[in-house]
Structure formats: structure tokens, C-alpha cells
Symmetry: C2
Subunit: 429 residues, 2 copies
Amino acid sequence: MKAAILAVGSELLGTVRLDTNSLAITEAFERHGVELRRKAVVGDSEEDLAAELAGLLSGHQLIVLTGGLGPTSDDITRTAVARALGRGIEIREELVGAIAARFHQMGLEMPAVNRRQAEVIDGATVLTNARGTAPGLRLDAGPTTLFLFPGVPWELDGMIGEYLLPWLAEHLDGDLRETAVLKVACLPESTLEERIAPAYGEFGREAITVLARPGDIEVRASAGGPEAERRERLGAMTRRLDALIGRAVYAHRDTTLEEVVGELLRRAGVTLVTAESCTGGLVAERLTRVPGSSDYFLGAAVTYSNELKMALLGVSPALLGAHGAVSEEVAAAMALGARERLGADYALALTGVAGPGGGTEEKPVGTVHIALASPEGITSHRRLGYPGDRQRIRWLSSQVALEMLRRHLLSTLGTESPGAGTLGEGAPA
Amino acid sequence: MKAAILAVGSELLGTVRLDTNSLAITEAFERHGVELRRKAVVGDSEEDLAAELAGLLSGHQLIVLTGGLGPTSDDITRTAVARALGRGIEIREELVGAIAARFHQMGLEMPAVNRRQAEVIDGATVLTNARGTAPGLRLDAGPTTLFLFPGVPWELDGMIGEYLLPWLAEHLDGDLRETAVLKVACLPESTLEERIAPAYGEFGREAITVLARPGDIEVRASAGGPEAERRERLGAMTRRLDALIGRAVYAHRDTTLEEVVGELLRRAGVTLVTAESCTGGLVAERLTRVPGSSDYFLGAAVTYSNELKMALLGVSPALLGAHGAVSEEVAAAMALGARERLGADYALALTGVAGPGGGTEEKPVGTVHIALASPEGITSHRRLGYPGDRQRIRWLSSQVALEMLRRHLLSTLGTESPGAGTLGEGAPA
């Protein structure tokens, strides 16, 4: 089945907003093996939308439109679709009543303009919108089915679940496509690609997608076909990718590194603090994004100045003088000081040059030292030298710090991975 | 002039990537008053792209295509455009030489596949790409001009500056459109809309755009016409909007609240620390995103546990027992303690319930206390009660904290605003 997505709204043709709704619709399509051939954005012009639709009707069996179902004169989707299909349109009084009831529920009178939202194109099925006043419509035009959905993301999500997915399930005979996710920390994209190259050969290049963000890669493997076969194939792909990528796989679901580290800390029954210079609190901020993180995260000393490194963490002036704030020695002293003074089982410390200024020949921008202190003392140290801008260097530093802790906790817990079965040996990131 | 933008690439039809290139092109269009009528994404299919183009050629005087200029068989933009226009295409040997030279510069041999990038459609002008191997093309087809640009954002940016903007300037007679920006902190969107309603009447609704993010609104006013007239109008709109919005305007350019607060701290010659509980270091992290922030930001105590509130900030157990960690009293004690123990002129302290758990009837999720300590003691306090999820509550809290400090520094410095002329009295956010 070939499909197109059409977003309606002049605000989506400006310099700031993008049509992000299409991603949620595409996800529903992918689940059911629907082939998205094109997507487009048109402004609030009845003429433009009708012309665009006329072009799409031939060659697509499914067209999903979003937006333009509001009550104002800008909202032209209903009338434009009627025009493109050469159909009539009329206001249904029972729908007006339902919309008015919604307003009453909120203690408001329905403004007169909202009557327009009760317009129904001839032959269309009305799709009640539980999350807003704009009903959706579904209609068949020859071999093509059109869905008209509201553009508010929260309302659209509801409509996808309530109407689009069931329709796809009914019309596509349970030929589902499912996706397995592997999240990978701190591997360069090219290294990952090299490692997984054999899997491309074995399972087909189109079955595996790699989405790389700095220090964080998502590998998506998808399979179709009957359920048992599909599940088996997904399992085989996941096991193979796990073996190829190794220990850098930190999760088998859509999650974050800070969440996985948090789970491991909770499982180990230990607490953590951070001591941060160049990252300015980013590691603490990431850890505390996770609800319930107060169970294992106690706090942080953000010691941007040398004075605070001494006052809060007890780093000695002699050490700072001898090695400079950006050094393995000071990172270690920060970690040990934080662990002791802030009273936790583990402490991560980061000190570096995030730039753009402050770099020297010996310690260029991007030089970051990270130390992990555990009950046994300094457990690991890394020196980074990533290129890039300030935010990238800070982000990558926080990512490596969390990954150092994850690897350590895994070995402490005697677990090789948070969810995988047998794993090959991964080189460190 | 009516225009369309067409992005080519199957990866842009998946569930994750969006065509963000169109935003940069739209910005160039808006500068020159070009009317963007539609934008579309098609996959790597010569047939689909040729069909899409055929539909766009009538009715658009300008079409910008991005992507699909690489060397592999997936890269079908050149051949699809030739097909849509019914033109021939051939490899130009002098271009092959230039591409090979680029590879040599990097110490590499040109792979044979890259010869394809030297394909030129009959009648096209070659646009050298200083940032990559894929040259662009410009061609006229009747009343329509087409630009074929690479899809790599960094390369595209170069092409826009080098070819698109000069072409627009030449063909649109200097009829520029310019935009003035006002950044506004901590006003609800509906309040802002109410305040600026008179300006819609005076300058026209289409001249003013409001882009709202939580706690941070960007108001964009734009004007066209001859330079002197346009500038005068922009000045008049900015002054009027300043007067209507009041002191919540924190900048007249595209910047962030943390950068503006940093400038004020530097101008006042004072230093800052933060003491954070529910925000987990977010305020410190935001402040240190700004290069050079070590000039005025010393550090932070992230005291997620009560023990650390006592140990690092000297908050008394009695106070915690009497009022609870989320209280005005504890926020004040945290701010005073941080100021004294961390040794700064100012301290911002935040303590609250970010959720989703931890709320009570008396202190529901969203309750956050913020205190500002200055050399004169506690200078201001706010109690927030924003609805929303954890990240939203944390973000809004950080925004209000920075705004409290900005307002205080403005009055200390005897300035009403960082850049405006006369300002009306704005109600506090």
C-alpha cells in the first residue's frame, strides 16, 4: 500500500516550525508495512491544498491529512478536500450539539465560529475526537482512502490510536512490521558501521537502520511477516547485533543512558555524587531527569572556580599549582573529595576545557579528564580529546562519564549487559 | 515570486529524521519576500521525483531541491530533473578533474562512482561547492528557475550564501524583508497575546509572529519595502511592542536568558552561585553553556538529599523538620548558605517537587520555591505552581530563577532593559 502525508498550515511554511506530526503517522505506517512515498506541507490556501490533493489521488491508496480542521476561516482542509473530490459539504446539527456540549463541560458557551467544525463532506465517516473539538473524517475516493486528522499533536496521537491503527490492522491482514532497538554509547558511528557490516550482509541492508547522535547511537532492526517468523527474525538480529557491537550496547529499548545507569545504581543499592567543572552540572542534571533518582543520587558539587575545588572538594592548592585544574591528578582528587565529603559510594568527577577559549598547546579545547571514585579508590580514568563546539564537548564528556560508571557497575554486579543474552567482547569506546 | 522546496531522500521519510534544510532556505526566501507555497519530501525514486517536479513546475517561479546529488545509485536528483524537463545529461570531464582534485587534497584517490557527480543537465549552470564534492546546478525552465543543492546542511548553508541569496537580490530588486526579534521571559502566551493585541491592529496581523516555548517567547516583527522606510517601520514596531510587553522583554536579538543574565553579571562586576535541589543542576548547567561564564559564575551545590542541604549549605535540621525541604524558609536558608559558604555576591536557590511522585495535598507536584540572596540578604522569593511534567517544571523553574536575577540586576544597574529605549511598566511574570 502506497501512502502520502499532507500537513496543512501556513505556520509550517515559516522559518521555525516543522511538520513533526508526520513522524507519528510514519511510525504507524511502518508497523503495518505501509510504504510512505511522499510527504508535503501546504499553507492555508484552499486552492493550493485542492491542487496538491488532486496530484496525490492517483498513485496513493492512503492519504493522511493533518491540520486545518479548526473553526476559523484559515481552516480550509474540509472545504479543500470536498473541492478536490467534487463533493458537497454540510453542517451536521448533531455534531454541533456534541461540540457545544464539550464547551459546556468546560463551563463555556460555544463560540458561533465553532459550528464550522461540524461540516461533513458527503460520504465521509465522522471520527469523534476525544481530546479536542475538531472531529476527524475518513472517506473513500475510488481506490484511495483519506483520513482528515487535527494538527494538535496530542489530539492527533489519540486519533492515530483510535482510528488509523485499527484501520491499518483491518486492511493489511495482520502483516505487521516490528522494530527492535539497540542503544549504543560512546562508539564512533564509523566504528559501529564497521562492526555491524556482517549483519547487513546476513539480514539485508534495508532491515537495519543506524541513527547516530553524538556519543549515542540507535540501531533499529525491523522485520515483517507472520508473527512467529517475525519474532524469531527480530530475536536473531538482536542477538547478532549484540555480539557484533559488544558491551557498548546499553539498552534494548528506547531509553537514555542516565536511566540505565540509575537502574544499575538502584540494583546495586549504592549512591552517587558528581563533582563537575567543565560540564557545569550537566551530569547531575541528566541523572536527575529520571523520576525517583533521589533514591541513588545525592547531589553534586559544581566547582567552576579553583577556589570551590579547594573549598568544597578539598583539592589541594599544591596539586592545582603543579598540574593545573585540567589534569588527571585533579580529576582524581575531585572524585575522591566528592565521595568523601558528599558521602556517597561512588563519585564521578570531570574537569576540562570546553572552549571556545582557554585552550593551550598542551591542553587544547576538548581536553577533558574524567575520574570515577569507588569504595576501592580511583576505579578508572579517561582523558578525552574530542573536537567540536562547547555544547558537544560537554555532552560527550557527560556521556563518557555515565558510560564509565555503567561499565563499572556491570562488572560489579556480574552482569554483562542490562538485557542481552550472550554478548561478544566489545572494545572500550 | 512563488516558490517551492523539495527535499530528496528516503531517510527523510522514516520515523526519525525531518527535512530541516527547508528552514534555512525559507529564511533566505523571507528576507527577499519570496512566497513559499509548499514544501515536499520524496524518496530516492527517479519516477516519484520527476512526477513531483512536473506538478510543481506550473505555478512556481522558483524551486529549490536539496539532496540526492551524491555519487551512488540512490542519488537520483540530477537524472530525475533531466527527465522531468525532457533534457539530456552528460558528464563534464573538467568537473571530474575538480572532484578528483578535492580527493587528492585529502590524500585520497577519487572512487570511480564519484564521476557521476560531474553529470550536468543540458543548459544548466554549474555551482561549485566549496564545502563538498557534489556541485550544485541552476537551470531555467520557461518561467521557472530551479536550484539543485546538496543535502548536507553545512554544504547547503554555503550554497545558499554563495548562490541563492545573490540570485534573489539580483532578481528581486533589493525588495528586502527584515525581521526584528524580541525575546520575552516567563509570560504566559495568552497574557502576551492580550498585551500585544493593539500592535496587531496598528501594524497588521501578518507583520507580527509569536513563537511560544515554555517560559520563553519569541516575538518576530517583519517589514518590507525600501530600506529607510523598512527600518523606520521596524523601529516603530519594536518600540511599540516593548511598551506593550514591558520589562519581560529580555533581549532584542536571538539569544538566551542565561546569556543576558551573564552579561548583566559581568557589567555589574559581581559573582553568582546556585543551590539546587529539584532542578538538579539545570540552572548551573544553563549558566555555564555561555562561553566565558567562569568570569562571573563560581559554581553550585546540587543538594538533592537533605543531608547535603545541611552539610554543604548549613541548612539547619530544625528548619527542615519544621517546614519541610520544599518551603520558602528552606529556599531562603539554601540561598544564604550558598552565598556565604561558596563565597559569591549572589546566590539563587531552588527547592521543589518536580514529580511525577512526591506530591502532597499541601505541596502538589509543581510546587517550587526560589530564593535570591544578595549582599543585602534575601532579595526576592517566588513560589511556583506550574502544571506539567518533570522536565517542564524543572525548565520553568530555571527560567523563573534566571528572570528573578535579571530583574534584580537591572534595577541594581539602574537600567530598565538590556537594549530597549523607553519601556512601559510590565507586570511581573
